[in-house]
Point group: C2
Chain length 324, copies 2
C-alpha cells in the first residue's frame, strides 16, 4: 500500500487554535484558525474545527490523509486526554482523541502543544540534527519540550516537560494552576503584562517620579492597561519601563534555565511563541543571566536561539508529524 | 568466545572510595576501600587503588575480568575525564579512564558516581523494571541520575543530572562549585551540619533560650561542632534541634523535587547515601513538602523510596555494570 500523502496538524493554544494540512516535505498547503476561548464546550469547539477542516479534507481527498495530530495544553500522549489545562476554559478531563476521531473518522494522535512544537523543530526547524535540546514556548502560558538523546521526555504518566510550572518565587504570583510563583506567571505574554502593570502602577502612584516622555506610561495613563505587543513596541522605542520589564523577565527565565541545563545538559534552548518575537529584548537578558548562573562546566556551551519556523507552521508541522 | 565472568566496580566519593569484584548475578565477591582525601595527586590515588586491587585480580584471574567501571564526581562518560569536581582535592581535568587503563591493562568505563548508582538500582535494586525515575544521592555532596524511558540522561556533553547544583537560594550558602545557594549546600551530609551549626550558634548565643536537656546542644557546647551522624542520633532521641534540621532540609529538598517532577515526571524518586540512612526523618518531610508543591496532575503519583541496595554495593554494582 502506498503511504498517504497528507496529514493534518492542529495546534490548540490558550488564545488561538491553528490547523493545517501538511505534506511529507513539511509544506503547509492549507491553513485555518479560530479563537479557542470563544467555545463554551469541547463539543462546540470540535464542531467549529470540523466546519473549518471539512472543505480542506474534501479538497485533498480523505483517502490521501494519514491522520490528525493535535498539540494542546496538558494533552496526554498516552491517554489521549486533556487534563486540567490551566489556560483553557474547559477544566474537566476531556477525551480529546476519542472525540476528534468520532468527528472526523480519521486516526488521531495528541500531545502537549509544546511537545508538538519540539517535534516540528526537530523535523523541520532549528533543532534539525540535534539530540539534546529544550524548546520553550512563550505564549499565553509557558510550555516546554525536553528532548534527550533524540527522544521527547514524556515521563511515567505523559505529563513531563512542565517548565512553566516550576516555582520561581515561593508565595509569588497566583497561577492558573492554583499554586503561586510558577514561571509562567512571570515569563509568558500575560506575565510580562503583569510585570509592566506592577511597575506602571508604582509609577502612576508617584512612588517614583515618572518621566512624561515614557511611552508605555502614557499608554497606561490613557487606558489603564498595556498589552504584551505594546510592551514590545515600547522597547523598540527605547522606553525605560519596557526595557526594565524585559530585563526582569530575562533574569527570571535565565536563572531557571541555568538550573535546567544542570539537569538535561542541552546543546541548545530554542524559544518559540508570541513573546519570543521580542527577539534580542528577551534573548539578551536570558543569555546573560543564564550564563551568570551556570555551573562552570556548562558555561559558554548552550546556544539560546529562536525557532527556525514560522509561528503557526511549527506547531502545525509538529502536530502533523505525530500522525505520520 | 565465552563472556568473562567478573567485572570490577570502583566508586570514588568525596570522602571514601570503595571498590569490588562483581559477578554477573550481582554478587560482590571481594571488596576494598580507601580514604579519597588522603591522596595528593590522581597518580598517588591510582597507585593506592592498584595496590588494593592487584591481589584481587590475581586471585580471580585477570583473563576472567571483563573490565573496570568507575563512578566518580563529575566523571564524563563520553570523554573519560573528571572535570572540575567540587568535592575532590584534584581540581584540574583528570584523564581518569586513560590513567586507570594504563595502570591495570584492562578496559575502563567511567561515569558520574550518581549515574553509576542509578545503573546499579536499575539492574539490581529498587528501580528494577522502572523506566522513569530519579536517583538522588545524599552524601558529602548531592548527586543525581535521571532515568527517562529506561535510559540515563547524559545530555549533550555528558554532564547532565547535576541536581546538587540547582540553585535553591539566590545568594545563599557558598558552594564548592564557586557559586552560592546550590541544593547540596543544604541537603547533603555537610549541608545538614551547616544547618545544625547555624541553629546551635543562635541558641548558644542566647538569642533563644536553650533547653539544657537538648542533647545536640550539649554536644555542641562540649566540643564546638556536631557531625551528621550525631544529628541523626539526636533525632532518634527526639532532640528538637535535630528534628528542626531534618524538617528544614526536607522542605528544601521536597520543593526542588516538586519542580523536577514537573520536568521528567518520574514513577519514583530513590534516595541513596549517608544522609538517606536517616530514613523517615528525612523522607517524611521531603514527601510532605514535595506533595504540597506539586502541580495537581502529579499529586499522589510519585513514590519517594530508599535504595534497595547496601550503600557500598549499589555504587560498586552500578560501576561494575558499566563494563559488561
Amino acid at each position: 500500500m502506498q503511504p498517504k500523502s497528507f496529514s493534518i496538524g492542529i495546534d490548540i493554544g490558550g488564545t488561538n487554535t491553528v490547523m493545517g494540512l501538511v505534506n511529507r516535505r513539511g509544506d503547509v498547503l492549507a491553513q485555518e484558525w479560530l479563537l479557542t476561548k470563544e467555545y463554551e464546550t469541547p463539543g462546540m469547539f470540535i464542531q467549529a474545527i470540523k466546519e473549518k477542516l471539512d472543505p480542506v479534507i474534501a479538497g485533498f481527498g480523505k483517502e490521501h490523509i494519514s491522520g490528525i495530530g493535535i498539540g494542546a495544553p496538558n494533552a496526554n500522549y498516552y491517554t489521549g486526554e486533556i487534563v486540567m489545562a490551566a489556560n483553557l476554559r474547559w477544566k474537566e478531563v476531556i477525551p480529546l482523541r476519542r472525540l476528534v476521531e468520532a468527528a472526523f473518522g480519521l486516526p488521531v494522535t495528541i500531545t502537549n502543544d509544546a511537545k508538538a512544537t519540539a517535534i516540528g523543530e526537530m523535523t523541520y526547524g532549528a533543532a534539525k540534527g540535534m539530540k539534546d535540546f529544550i524548546i520553550v514556548t512563550l505564549g499565553t502560558g509557558v510550555g516546554s519540550g525536553f528532548v534527550v538523546n533524540g527522544q521527547l521526555i514524556y515521563g511515567h504518566d505523559g505529563f513531563a516537560g512542565e517548565l512553566g510550572h516550576v516555582i520561581v518565587a515561593r508565595g509569588g504570583r497566583s497561577c492558573g494552576c492554583g499554586r503561586r510563583g510558577c514561571l509562567e506567571t512571570y515569563t509568558s505574554a500575560t506575565g510580562i503584562v503583569r510585570t509592566a502593570t506592577e511597575i506602571l502602577e508604582r509609577l502612576a502612584h508617584g512612588q517614583e517620579i515618572p518621566e512624561q516622555k515614557d511611552w508605555l506610561l502614557a499608554v497606561w495613563n490613557a487606558k489603564g492597561s498595556v498589552s504584551s505587543s505594546e510592551i514590545h513596541k515600547a522597547a523598540l522605542a527605547g522606553d525605560p519601563v519596557a526595557l526594565e520589564v524585559f530585563e526582569f523577565t530575562g533574569k527570571i527565565l535565565g536563572e531557571v534555565l541555568a538550573d535546567m541545563v544542570a539537569i538535561t545538559s542541552p546543546e541548545a534552548i530554542i524559544f518559540f511563541g508570541g513573546l519570543a518575537k521580542a527577539g534580542a529584548f528577551i534573548l539578551d537578558p536570558v543569555r546573560r543571566h543564564m550564563e551568570e548562573n551556570l555551573l562552570a562546566v556548562f558555561r559558554n556551551k548552550v546556544n539560546i536561539i529562536l525557532s527556525g519556523l514560522e509561528e503557526c507552521d511549527a506547531a502545525i508541522l509538529g502536530a502533523a508529524a505525530l500522525s505520520w
